[in-house]
Symmetry: C2
Subunit: 498 residues, 2 copies
């Protein structure tokens, strides 16, 4: 190995170690840390972040990258890809002044506090000044980069390398009328029964069942674990230590099962990355949208399918015999797929979910362009909700204040959720061509071939290919919503007899 | 504040953050980490340690310390103490070459593995080569420092700043014949009853009871928590996040209670340090022996006292009514203080414990001097056990292989355990002069005044005073075993009617 490559790997390896250490600290912060630990933990995370940043943006790294680009010009090789991705990250990190990073971190700490208060009082005016500041900072962030076709491109590109605002608008534009039409058709049909989901379920039994499911998916508890946290998430400490969190809410007892499947989908991606990429820029999934495609696939295309419940329902029914008395697998399956326009994105069903995202994307673009002002957000939000979903949030907590993302200055992120859905259906059609009896395997509780297919075709590559390139390799086309429309149409056609 | 002091504090603060981050990673490693995480975790900890070391031994730190020593010459001020302690640590860190630190770390990783195998097969010869290497490295370590009165001084001084081998030998020399005599006297008396401790106790109930006790001691679960781990320990992430671990073993069900009290004693020390010392060299207790005095005080002088059980026993008996049927508080108290020479140090009672330590100290000194060879250790060990405790280990696992310390190259540490016992009795006599009705308070389950006394007189100072100076301030004399002898004589005189 070239001496320069070895030196670069050493530095990037240390930066990666610092990042993983920070992940452990954040995980603990959300999972086990006693309240008293908060202040010092913030300081510790800031120090780890600062040192990692200092190490990464050092002149030496830039010089190594310049030399190595010449030495390894082929991006199809692991070394070439590693250098390409590191160089892109380096360029970004060098463009943003440390003083700005600190200012943004402080503003976001303030804004998160304001958002929590605003949400609890359902009063947008409490959050407004902090959000205005965050939007200003985001505009300033964009100004550090060369002009793009659209200022929002820079923000989006941080999450989906190579994607442009116009691309997403085109994808969403094609999908929106079809989803709106589908929802309308469903709303004219008889609603499915789900009263049995409103009963009392024992938390520990639900939790254990969730672990039974993800174990069958292939989530290996010697390389991961599931802990309780206020919000479900997946976090990676190394290719052999990928953890998930989950929660239990009395009024949505079975959400715990779907959250486990969702986070397991993220985890399987991380666990499947080529171990040789450890401590390099290629470890971890390639983009948020592709990551979300994996979580949504296991949660929805697998976990909300009829074959899945044909396998798991008998055991579920045995576990919750009184709650599920007289309920058939088919009835349960329909309930798990109930469509109903609702205010809260994270609880939305598959048919309505993407519309929640489109609404946010339009608002974000407007804020960045300057065509929408923060002060008008509650009104704009509610108007769009009426437009897309036919319902009006009764207050800001159930409307514009519901998500935390804008409080930590994260603008450009939301569309990856919908792109993930879209991608999951594209991959699913492709998988089903290679594994002809996939439904039958799922019906038998066999997930090994599916998981292995995903590992070989997607997971192992980690960050090697940009999302659109990966899609081209895997499904032979770029991101496109037609498979998703076919999937929704067929699924809800059956359930609602459209 | 002086600009130079601010700069020093900034650097030391970051070094402290890295250390605390490493503590979180180690805690997770022992408490929650899935097996797969081990390799990467070792790498992450190595990186954190390396970066902390690099930051701390930078020339800039040395220059700042030199200037600041002149600016803040008074060690009675916080600044003066901070600079004195940092300068001492700096001098030590600079003397030991990084290459040696790496060599020692690698040797210890190897040795721990060998020790585990040797212990499981009860075969010292498996461990011997690694231990010989460790002893060599320890001698080399000593050679980096200026010659002391005795080569062991350098090792001891790492744990007990200012203490010399001759001091410890003098203290132990005075104590040993008295403890040996006491054990002999006890062995001639009728043994206490404790068959009720060999019954089956419910793990969760014991665990909950342990948390009830430490809560009453004042361990604040908003600033700490107790988790399950293979070995009980205390670990500090900040002055407001100090955690303990514990375990449950079927054959010693109530050991969980005493371990909780022990670790709680360590934790209360850390929780009581002046918050202004956070992220400086003064945060954390001053030495291992003083730390151990706090854990042993809460475990033994409080937790194995009659007043303590007069308070807690009724509730314990209610919790374990069948196991403790017909057992009085006094009988239970006696059982909790049963004296019986035994092979394993960590299970030893108060009367025999120190002899286990003295044996180890003599062996360590011999190894460092060269008067004892590693190959002869099993024989020497067993001979000393016969001499001091009148029993002969049937195999190496119950003898020379029982402790992990030597496998990670830690020589110089053991005597702090016995010193902790000795110090705890000195402090206890002093406390009882200030709190005349302490027994009565304990009998009522009131621990606030005791805890506050310890906080004000010991805990708050953190690392400000060296152990012997602290003792001079608190009890008016240096470390001396006479209080401990008085304590043991009175306690066992009552229990065994000597």
């Amino acid at each position: 190995m070239s001496e320069k490559l070895a030196r670069l790997k050493e530095i990037i390896g240390e930066v990666s170690d610092l990042g993983h250490a920070a992940s452990v600290l954040s995980w603990d912060q959300q999972v086990y840390m006693p309240a008293g630990g908060a202040e010092a933990r913030g300081q510790q995370l800031a120090t780890l972040g600062k040192i990692a940043q200092e190490k990464f943006i050092a002149d030496e790294v830039g010089e190594l990258l310049e030399d190595l680009k010449k030495e390894f010009p082929d991006p199809e090789t692991d070394e070439g890809a590693m250098i390409r991705v590191s160089a892109r990250d380096y360029d970004k990190a060098r463009r943003v002044p440390t003083s700005f990073v600190v200012e943004q971190a402080l503003a976001s700490t303030q804004a998160i506090g304001d958002w929590v208060r605003a949400k609890s009082q359902s009063d947008f005016s409490i959050f407004r000044p902090a959000l205005e500041k965050n939007v200003e900072l985001v505009k300033q962030y964009v100004s550090f980069f060369p002009p793009a076709d659209h200022p929002y491109d820079t923000l989006l590109g941080d999450y989906e390398s190579g994607m442009k605002t116009a691309d997403v608008q085109e994808i969403f534009g094609a999908l929106r009328p079809k989803q709106v039409k589908l929802i309308k058709a469903i709303s004219e049909k008889k609603q499915v029964k789900d009263s049995f989901l409103q009963k009392k379920y024992n938390e520990k039994k639900v939790w254990d069942f969730s672990e039974k499911i993800v174990s069958k998916f292939g989530y290996d508890f010697t390389r991961g674990r599931q802990d309780k946290a206020p919000h479900p998430f997946e976090t990676t400490f190394s290719v052999n230590d990928v953890r998930i969190t989950n929660r239990f809410e009395k009024d949505q007892p079975l959400a715990t099962l779907f959250s486990a499947m969702h986070e397991c989908g993220h985890a399987l991606y991380e666990l499947g990355v080529n171990p040789a990429y450890e401590r390099t820029s290629l470890a971890s999934g390639t983009s948020l949208a592709v990551h979300e495609s994996q979580s949504r696939m296991w949660e929805n295309l697998v976990g909300r399918s009829l074959p899945f419940w044909e396998h798991f329902y008998p055991e579920l029914k045995k576990t919750f015999s009184s709650q599920l008395e007289g309920v058939s697998a088919k009835t349960f399956y329909k309930a798990a797929n109930k469509v109903e326009p609702s205010f809260i994105r994270v609880n939305a069903d598959e048919a309505t979910y993407n519309l929640h995202i489109m609404l946010r994307l339009e608002i974000e673009i407007g804020l960045v362009e300057g065509s929408i002002e923060v002060k008008d957000l509650p009104e704009i939000w509610n108007a769009k909700m009426r437009d897309y979903l036919g319902i009006t949030p009764p207050n800001d907590a159930l409307g514009v204040l519901q998500d935390i993302h804008w409080s930590y200055g994260s603008i450009g992120y939301f569309s990856t959720y919908a792109l993930g859905n879209i991608i999951s259906a594209q991959i699913w059609e492709r998988v089903n061509k290679d594994i002809r009896d996939l439904d039958e395997q799922i019906r038998k509780g066999q997930f090994g071939e599916l998981r292995e297919w995903l590992r070989v075709n997607i997971h192992q590559f980690g960050h090697k290919y940009d999302p659109q390139d990966l899609m081209q390799r895997v499904v032979g086309s770029k991101i496109d919503s037609s498979a998703y429309v076919r999937y929704l149409t067929k699924k809800y056609g059956d359930i609602y007899e459209l």
